[in-house]
């Protein structure tokens, strides 16, 4: 009885199971049928589409450019798309900045460097439905070639740099496809701080920018910053060459630290060790002793300071000057300040577009300077600070906050963002600094400031081997290690002075930016070694 019962139950169960299985099978079969139907339909549609697509030769993904052919095709730059080109049929290579599909139309914003233009694709006799769909699905930042007719527009296109024309696209080919997901959005990266806060829009923080520097460098702001920085270098070179300077190249692997040993990088050098140059100091001086008279040098300099501030990098580009003078080191100050003024003027006159572009994201007041440049003595500066309530000793070095405050005081009094501070206390300067003949507590040294921050440090150097040895000993420097340097002054050395400028700082302060990493293309600091 019990057994039967169990059996009965078992049968029931089996029956139930088979019923379930049957149902399941049926369902699956239905599903498969539906799927097949759908696929067939899709394939048919696709086929139909392919057959229907009269424009299929007008768009697509180009084979990888491996220099297979020399196409005789002129590519017009986006910045040259002006009303003069209206009604012309042209080719353009650009990135897809944004794309927006709207029914039978697709609007693209094409970008090349900091210039953008609107492009329009509409279903018609030139473009098929499929072509518009293809364009709408292109990923942002992809590089494309388009053939288009330039058309004047009635209403200015506010969102683009080329506001008076748009492109009516006839052909569109992808040259390089971007991955769909970007690590940061370019629009977010150029948004001024604070703006868009209400709409909850994002700005990109600096580390994310720097981690994805290649994309960040594409923003209009970055493009403008580094074009202007290139301008600083060029103006620096042009001005000095005109003044009869010679450009020199100096080694960066050196045997002894030039400015105290604390902040140098040590590198292993075969069986011994060497240092990375903190400045081309010793070499440019040796060139002076070798009768080059006026030299300058543009190159990397290294500082192993473990300071994570807005204005320190461990590697930056130094613009160094050294020149022999006749009787007074102010001849050199005048020459350097004039060079700086030429740079400021050149930037103002030739890079207004770039300055405006940066100002859109980072507003600042225009950079002001005087001609001739204002020169203050250290004592006067200390007096100004004391009058403003700062307590400091006469021969104390300037702290960063005091430097900045002094900058403000000078700006208020003299209306200049650029000035020279002369006659620093001897004790706070390196061993090769020439003491002031009138007061041994001071020295013939100077700093130059932009917007209250130091950009150049310089001095008359000791060109007498005897005095140089004394000063080195006073600073506790191992004479053996700088023997070659001291010896170069033994065989007749002209009086000379010079200084070194940080390229990134000049760019930062000229534009009124707040972090030196913004003006270093691939910044190096104690915490960043990549990209």
């Amino acid at each position: 009885m019990t057994k039967e019962n169990v059996q009965g139950a078992g049968e029931d169960e089996q029956q139930a199971q088979s019923k379930k299985a049957l149902k399941k099978q049926q369902k699956e079969a239905e599903k498969a049928a539906k799927k097949a139907e759908k696929q067939a339909k899709l394939a048919a549609e696709q086929q139909e589409a392919d057959e229907d697509d009269f424009a299929k030769d007008r768009y697509g993904i180009s084979p990888m450019v491996q220099s297979q052919q020399k196409l005789d095709r002129a590519l017009v730059r986006v910045q040259d798309l002006t009303p003069e080109k209206a009604e012309q049929q042209i080719w353009v290579r650009a990135r897809i900045h944004t794309s927006r599909a709207k029914g039978k139309q697709c609007f693209l914003v094409l970008r090349h460097q900091q210039f953008t233009v609107q492009a329009l694709l509409a279903v018609g006799d030139r473009a098929s439905k499929q072509m518009v769909k293809f364009a709408a699905n292109l990923t942002k930042e992809s590089i494309i070639d388009v053939e288009a007719v330039v058309k004047k527009v009635e209403q200015k296109i506010e969102s683009c740099s080329q506001q008076d024309v748009e492109l009516h696209v006839e052909r569109i080919f992808v040259i390089s496809q971007s991955e769909a997901r970007l690590p940061l959005q370019l629009e977010d990266a150029v948004r001024p701080e604070g703006e868009g806060d209400e709409e909850g829009r994002a700005t990109v923080n600096q580390d994310t920018r720097l981690d994805n520097r290649v994309i960040d460098l594409r923003t209009t702001t970055s493009q403008a910053i580094f074009r202007l920085q290139s301008g600083v270098c060029q103006l620096f070179r042009d001005t000095l060459i005109n003044k009869g300077f010679v450009e020199i190249q100096t080694p960066k692997i050196i045997s002894a630290a030039s400015e105290g040993g604390a902040n140098v990088f040590t590198v292993s050098y075969f069986k011994t060790s060497a240092y990375l140059a903190q400045s081309p100091q010793l070499y440019k001086q040796m060139c002076i002793c070798a009768d080059f008279d006026k030299v300058f040098c543009v190159g990397p300099v290294f500082r192993a300071e473990d300071s994570n501030t807005h204005r320190h990098l461990t590697e930056f580009v130094g613009l160094d000057i050294e020149m022999a003078f006749n009787y007074h080191y102010h001849e050199v100050i005048d020459s350097i300040t004039d060079t700086m003024v030429q740079i400021f003027k050149g930037l103002r006159d030739r890079f207004q577009t770039e300055i405006q572009t940066v100002n859109k994201q980072y507003p600042s007041e225009p950079f002001k300077f005087l001609e001739p440049t204002l020169r203050l003595e250290y004592k006067e500066a200390v007096a100004m600070l004391k009058a403003a309530g700062v307590e400091m000793g006469d021969e104390e070095d300037l702290s960063t906050p005091n430097e900045k405050l002094l900058g403000r005081l000078v700006k208020e009094k003299y209306d200049t963002d650029f000035y020279v501070l002369d006659k620093y206390p001897l004790a706070v300067r390196p061993f090769y600094t020439m003491p002031d003949p009138n007061n041994t507590k001071y020295s013939n040294s100077y700093d130059m400031f932009m917007r209250g921050e130091e950009i150049l440090s310089g001095a008359q150097r000791v060109h007498d081997a005897q005095l140089l040895t004394e000063r080195a000993m006073h600073h506790g420097i191992d004479l053996e290690k700088i023997k070659a340097y001291i010896d170069s002054f033994r065989y007749g050395a002209p009086p000379h002075a010079g200084g070194g400028i940080g390229l990134e700082r000049v760019t930062m302060l000229y534009l009124g930016l707040h972090n030196v990493r913004q003006t270093s293309m691939f910044p190096r600091d104690p915490k960043r070694l990549t990209p």
Partner: protein
Amino acid sequence: MALRELNSLERFLGLKKPNKYSTQGGKKVPVLQNNNGPALIGLVTIASHLVHEAQRPELLGDSAEQRAVVQQWLEHRVTRLDNSSKEEVKVILKDLNQYLEDKVYLAGNDFTLADILMYYGIHHIVVELAVQEKERYLNITRWFDHIQHYPGVRHHLPPVVVLRNRVYPSGHH
């Protein structure tokens, strides 16, 4: 602290004979043992008494409204300013700066005891401010400079340097 303040106040009021004060409690509340009655306790109470003593009642306010305003600031001084944390100081400065925007003195157009005691109480804060902050709290700085130069007020306190012209452009820091 409060005792030196009371001494300076006595001299400002021209009281010939200096009083002897003691303090009470952990917060060193000043106490004045009065010959003709019970002891007076607390800075504001003693200060008001001294003002009466010197027959300068106008320092407590001329009208009923002004008297109320003076009392309010005296209370503000001992309850909020004297017990403020670093964070609260910023709020106090911001509010005071806004209040002083259209006033020469705390009670409007007349110098009162409120100005004296607020000046004494806020001095240690203002003396620590950087040039930029002094400019940010421009109205406080103006009022403070005015009070520290008011004849006979400053006494035991060092003068604070105040720039007469703005050196920081507005909007930029």
